[in-house]
Subunit: 346 residues, 2 copies
Amino acid sequence: MAGPASVKDVARRAGVSLGTVSNVLNRPERVGPETRERVLRAIEELGFVRNEAARQLRAGRSRTIGLVVLDVGNPFFTDIAAGVEEMAASAGLSVLLCNSADNQDRENHYLSVLEEQRTLGILISPVTGENPHLNEIRTRGMSAVLVDHRSSRRQCSVSVDDVVGGELAADHLIAQGYDRLAFVGGPIGLNQVANRLAGARNAWRAAGQDPDRITVLETTALTVASGRLMGERIAAMPARRRPRAVFCANDLLALGVLQEMTRQGLDVPGQLAIVGYDDIDFAAAAAVPLTSVRQPRAQLGRAATELLIDEISSAGTHQHRQVVFEPELVVRASTDNARRPRASAG
Amino acid sequence: MAGPASVKDVARRAGVSLGTVSNVLNRPERVGPETRERVLRAIEELGFVRNEAARQLRAGRSRTIGLVVLDVGNPFFTDIAAGVEEMAASAGLSVLLCNSADNQDRENHYLSVLEEQRTLGILISPVTGENPHLNEIRTRGMSAVLVDHRSSRRQCSVSVDDVVGGELAADHLIAQGYDRLAFVGGPIGLNQVANRLAGARNAWRAAGQDPDRITVLETTALTVASGRLMGERIAAMPARRRPRAVFCANDLLALGVLQEMTRQGLDVPGQLAIVGYDDIDFAAAAAVPLTSVRQPRAQLGRAATELLIDEISSAGTHQHRQVVFEPELVVRASTDNARRPRASAG
DNA sequence: GAGCTGGAATGAAACCTTTCATGTGACGCA
DNA sequence: TGCGTCACATGAAAGGTTTCATTCCAGCTC
């Protein structure tokens, strides 16, 4: 026996036909108990394992959905993934988790893989708003739901209002009396980044300030390492020109900045207040517990999966929906202006 | 046209045979330039996408390896996954990431899925040492490498010496003068947990103490939430019976305990020193930067993938190897006994 | 002009499972 | 005895790709 056993081998060993073996596997009630027993024994003895590829080829589609995220290393996305998996499992589907790492080429590569696999549908947190490749794939009949990104009316999406989130963060900083504000995040091309910045500018304008006077410190990625790098730059600024508060596009950046401040002996929030975004579990456990904008992560994942399943199963009647959740500000020590030392103390 | 276009459709449209289309796809140099052009145009016009299932059925195996981890929510494992993916990509392979969530049934489920998919090989951080199902699958010719768990000589594995890690942690605490020691971790059935505890006991014994006098506080999982729960229990102990130092089986637990201490107003390391394990990025950014036992995570992933690829490609000559890395202690503020208040101060 | 060469294209077979229309035989009932 | 029914079991077909042994043909040599 060269390769692994096939239904044919099982059939021969059990002395029945191919069809009967298949029936034992898929509709056991249609097979006589004695025959069934014999087939099962043959399966056991040969160590037969279904060939999913052949199965799927016959069926024309798989029982898998794809989830493409921007960064598996970010707990924000693994929390979403947990929600997706929970929902998918309860519908009997598997989830194929792909990491685009903020990279358009990788995103497209994974989209191709998912299409070639005849995946049932795709959940994607896209690198950019419009991805022609994704649109093409959808044209060919693949269902897709955008996650963490609001779509047009021609497609389903699940997102959290990032503009509102940015406003919440900036409003809070303004209310706390911080004046020189910086925004840390990037690449600016990322939608989430752009929207959170736009929200902050809105709030700034509403407070009667010039929205362009928010210093934008653009990073190359939304990671702890990028945050540390930017932290170095901030610490190196002369105290008079240094911002009093930074709003970071996500918690990883915020934690990086915070870490660097601590290392350089700058007090948070005394010399620099920090607001993060996402409220991942680690934000609360940070050196200085982080004020952050909370997103309902698992819920995001569940809702997206529900929409996708609906789109797949009721192809004809499906109505595209854009679900938008509201973010929520969680205030912690990192923006406590009471702890800010006298201006002369620096 | 009902379903998506197939090679047959492309062939018809381009006015060539099936075989030629396949050649354009797989060995373009064997096809005349003019014909090739015509086929490519047909592919473009029809939006033809290879059917991976059929491809794989024909080939007998996929171009994918499976990675089963204990907890995708734990940065330790996503860092390993990053290493795996990097190595796999450079060998032209895809990675299917599965989360067993410490659960034997889920682990077995994913193993079955991977076998049915005719995955090229499996990297697995196993829930328990011996998994009969995994052994069965290996019997049928599937390659598998254990990750973060040392195997017997009959199989490849990549791990970090957890006993040494436990010794490093406990030695450090002893050297810092901490006497009442507790170990936080669980389920004790998990190998990593058991070994780290064993290491700590070794060190304790070597220091002339009764190794059974290490209090074992068993948790149900290695998560931040479990850590918080155990933190509550620790805080609730009368100060005289409370441990002076805890060694946590991983950083998530340590962060949870730390968070709860802060919430309850207990000083770390003043009233409780904490050592974590893994040295994930967040450990350094914690409320009190965590002393932790560092593991070379990405390297673990890369090495495991290398072993797997070797096992797959040189099936005949392959020698099973057990690669064991050495952990490294990273000392930070959470175990700084200088900051410990006078005994009478409590 | 016959025979040969090599590049290019062909078409059937194989991979494995599932489905479905068909076949078989036993049994009960009129 | 003959017919209909029912429960099982059968075998061929289909699904899309790749491979490989053939076939075809233009161009070349002798």
